[in-house]
């Protein structure tokens, strides 16, 4: 009897896992919200839009190779595009919505390859139209060939702001300033990691050269402290911040812009893993709450695996190897996973993964956010965008002794809106840690729906028996 596998997410980890599982004879269903596979990093444009590219050739080569390989096995895969998984239950059921109907799958094994989303530190005016996440702006450029602003300021930490700045410049956009919390030279401490990731470092240096050649003003140690504009962004005020999160008075710089692209790291899309019953742990630099997994991506729930950034932010190169390894493990009955055969078969993938993980140590050094930085969040700043909850209200709840995400949610409604806390819970957790000295130990209770779905679609539900 052929083993059935469902992969949720068609980014590098999901695609690699699907390819490996098909190779090992599984019946594979892969589910993704986008029209085409690729996830975020390998987001594909519509064929009519392809042409000039702004990413580094080496990255594009990796993208096209993997997509071609995936395309090669696509006749053997049940690909569900524009489909949203809204629940995974401890009994192994996957509930998804596609079109105007829903479906329940019950495969032998599930691989969650749901990746990460972006996080920012909120500031007054950050909800003004024209303030976007940097990766989101990059997606619009990558997939839709639009620079989402004529005069762009980019701010954040880590490598992404630099990459986005360079890509926008290559696309003919104007970058008025690039503000980073600290210089990327923090990576230099991780010499071994840099050596292992030297191809990526080379790509990074070329991006840096693009930015340098365009003479983009570089503001190191600066954060946005106010976005100006009501119906649309008109300008941003940036200021220098010290390690204690105090704004250095007199350092404010106002820069006109119509797009502010920001990124301060990433949060794992781990809601489905938690809902499925996986044991979770918290690691702020690795994506917040992430499932506890072993080297084969196994969670504490038999039959539920996690691959890629969803198991801890590690980048695209790790994600692909990880997908191969997890896909192999999920493809076989659980009793066979721990034997020496699988380890031998995956030796190469594991070695590559280990090498890429060394480089990720260097990257993670640039994503460390001192908790003190959250001091910059003022009482008037909106923290939960969906429900318009300001920090002052959250602070009131904290002072009232409500320290868990659930209790704060019950108190002031943060996390109860359309996005289910995706834009705010990392902020609430950080602000709680700053105020009380301890981060919340528990996630908000994971519950359906991970995506909103209408009653009508739910009533049109198809149940698919895997066996």
């Amino acid at each position: 009897m052929q083993r059935s596998l469902a992969v949720i997410g068609a980014g590098p980890a999901g695609m690699a896992a699907a390819i490996e599982a098909v190779r090992r004879g599984c019946r594979v269903t892969i589910i993704d919200e986008a029209v085409r596979p690729g996830g975020q990093i390998f987001r594909q444009a519509h064929p009519a839009l392809r042409g000039e590219e702004f990413a580094e050739p080496a990255e594009l080569a990796r993208k096209h190779r993997l997509l071609a390989e995936f395309q090669g096995v696509s006749s053997k895969i049940d690909y569900r595009g524009e489909a949203s998984v809204y629940a995974v239950f401890p009994n192994g059921e996957i509930h998804l919505a596609q079109g105007d109907a829903t479906e329940v799958l019950r495969p032998d094994a599930i691989i969650l390859a749901t990746g990460v989303r972006e996080q920012v530190i909120p500031f007054p005016g950050w909800t003004t139209p024209g303030v976007m996440f940097a990766g989101g702006a990059q997606s619009i450029l990558k997939a839709h060939r639009v620079v989402p602003g004529t005069n762009v300021v980019i701010a954040g930490c880590g490598p992404l702001p630099l990459i986005v700045a360079a890509q926008i410049l290559r696309a003919g956009g104007r970058v008025a300033a690039l503000a980073s919390l600290r210089s990327l030279s923090a990576m230099l401490h991780h010499v071994r990691g840099l050596w292992h990731g030297r191809e990526i470092v080379r790509e990074g240096l070329r991006y840096a050269w693009t930015v340098r050649r365009a003479k983009v003003p570089l503001l190191t140690g600066y954060m946005p402290v106010r976005a100006i504009g009501t119906e649309r962004l008109e300008a941003v005020v940036l200021a220098r911040v010290d390690q204690e999160g105090r704004l250095l008075s007199g350092s404010e710089r106002r820069i006109d812009c119509d797009l502010l692209a920001i990124n301060y790291g990433f949060v794992a899309n781990s809601e489905l893993a938690a809902m499925a019953g996986s044991e979770m742990r918290r690691d702020p630099v690795a994506g917040g709450w992430i499932p506890v997994t072993d080297t084969y991506g196994r969670t504490s729930v038999p039959g539920v695996f996690v691959a890629g950034d969803g198991a801890g932010l590690r980048g695209a190169l790790v994600a692909e190897c990880d997908g191969t390894i997890v896909g192999a493990a999920a493809a076989m009955p659980s009793s066979a996973v721990d034997g020496p055969t699988l380890r031998a078969e995956l030796a190469d993938a594991m070695a590559r993964r280990a090498r890429h993980l060394e480089f990720q140590k260097a990257v993670r050094a640039t994503l460390q956010l001192p908790i003190a930085l959250w001091r910059t969040v003022t009482d008037e700043t909106i923290v939960c965008r969906c429900e318009n909850v300001r920090f002052g209200e959250i602070r009131g709840a904290l002072e009232g002794g409500h320290h868990s995400l659930n209790a704060i949610k019950r108190n002031v409604r943060s996390g109860m809106g359309w996005c289910g806390g995706r834009s705010c819970l990392h902020s609430v957790a950080a602000l709680t840690e700053l105020a009380t000295g301890a981060a919340p130990t528990e996630m908000m209770t994971p519950r359906p729906m991970v995506r909103p779905v209408s009653f009508a679609a739910i009533a049109r539900q198809r149940k698919v028996e895997a066996r």
Partner: protein, 382 residues
């Protein structure tokens, strides 16, 4: 926990626990009252319900408990010195009948309600649809409506009670679990993780979890847990003004001021899990669409669950157990809406041994021995 002696220990800081504590503190100033709860503020059933109160019941005891409680809610800001108020909304409850049999039950209950002066009225199917155009006509026979029924914010009620209790020097502690309960002298010894206290009297307000604590003292009561699940939609334009109860669908509907519509969909279940079950949505969606076709395309945003208490006659249990000084107050899924009256009655019983209220005779724990059980007809439960 410093070792201490208390006049009354209340276990459970939900609506019943806090209401009883406050009433006791008001009744006897200087009373040493401790309320403990193993969870966080509002983490139990009082924080997980439809937030409604109705006087539309079929038995006099339920009508009276809710009538008194409604009057309390109408003046809660004043009674509890809570200027913010508890978000009282009195847009009424519309109870729907989708069969002649249900309609007959409604008519009978209406008569009893009128005897107590409840301002409820009989509605034809057309009346119902005029009030809530989103309602489905399918099998709808009619209903009853009472404009004084409504909703409050359970969260604000609990907050106002908590603050009022603390003002009266009631000691309220969360995250505090009873580890051992035993009789000692004429009262009780209660052990917690970090200390022991003595209490002359104990009131159990842990609802469906009451049997667990009773068992440790060697007695029992027929209280079962009843898990219930609810659906919350995205905020949408106003379309359901009163609370709706459909006796046939076992659904209650509450569109809150934020715009989200909350559907509590009951079904016969066992267990104590508040987790959302895999088959709930598929079970509930067709019923919701049948009841309110107008919401078919509204997205579901969230589901949640809570646990209620179930007794053999679906009535609360109020009174002293066979162990002297040990009292129980079990809500039978109408805790929030009876909490003010129950607080008053239990405080009189516990502090003054006042057994005059007829409700105490009807709801005594001892009724299960005599078998004198009367069912409430207007139940929204399978």
């Amino acid at each position: 926990m410093k070792n201490g002696k208390f006049d009354v220990l209340i276990i459970g800081a939900g609506a019943y626990g806090l209401s009883c504590a406050w009433w006791m503190a008001k009744r006897r100033s200087g009373a040493r009252i401790l309320v403990v709860d193993e969870g966080e503020f509002a983490s139990g059933a009082s924080g997980r319900n439809g937030a409604g109160f109705r006087m539309q019941w079929g038995l006099d005891l339920n009508i009276r408990l809710c009538q008194e409680s409604t009057q309390f809610f109408e003046n809660a800001a004043e009674h509890l010195d809570y200027p913010r108020g508890i978000e009282l909304k009195q847009d009424g409850y519309l109870v729907l009948a989708h069969s002649e049999k249900a309609m007959t039950t409604l008519r009978g209950s209406l008569e009893i309600q009128h005897r107590y002066g409840v301002p409820s009225e009989l509605f034809s199917a057309e009346d119902c649809i005029r009030m809530v155009p989103a309602l489905g006509r399918n099998r709808l026979v009619g209903g009853t409506f009472c404009g004084k029924d409504g909703t409050i914010s359970p969260f604000l009620l609990l907050d106002s009670l908590l603050k009022a209790c603390r003002r009266e020097n009631v000691d309220v502690r969360y995250g505090t679990r009873v580890e051992k309960l035993e009789r000692f002298g004429g009262g009780f010894n209660v052990r917690f993780r970090d200390g022991v206290i003595e209490a002359d009297k104990i009131l159990l307000c842990t609802d469906w979890a009451v049997p667990e604590l009773l068992a440790s003292l060697g007695i029992s009561l027929p209280v079962k847990s009843l898990p219930k699940e609810a659906i919350v939609t995205v905020p949408c334009a106003p379309r359901v003004k009163p609370i709706l109860i459909s006796l046939e669908h076992h659904i209650s509907v509450n569109q809150v001021s934020r715009g989200s519509i909350i559907f509590v969909v009951s079904r016969a279940r066992e267990g104590q899990e508040i987790a959302s079950t895999p088959d709930f949505l598929a079970f509930a969606a067709p019923k919701v669409i049948d009841l309110l076709p107008g919401v078919a395309d509204v997205p579901v945003l969230r589901t949640w669950g809570g646990v209620s208490s179930l007794t053999p006659d679906m009535q609360p249990i109020l009174g002293e157990t066979e162990i002297e000084g040990l009292y129980v107050a079990v809500s039978s899924f109408r805790g929030l809406m009876t909490s003010p009256a129950v607080g008053r009655i239990m405080s009189a019983l516990i502090l003054e041994n006042d057994t005059n209220d007829p409700v105490l005779t009807q709801l005594t724990p001892r009724r299960f021995q005599t078998g004198n059980l009367i069912m409430e007809p207007l139940l929204n439960q399978e």
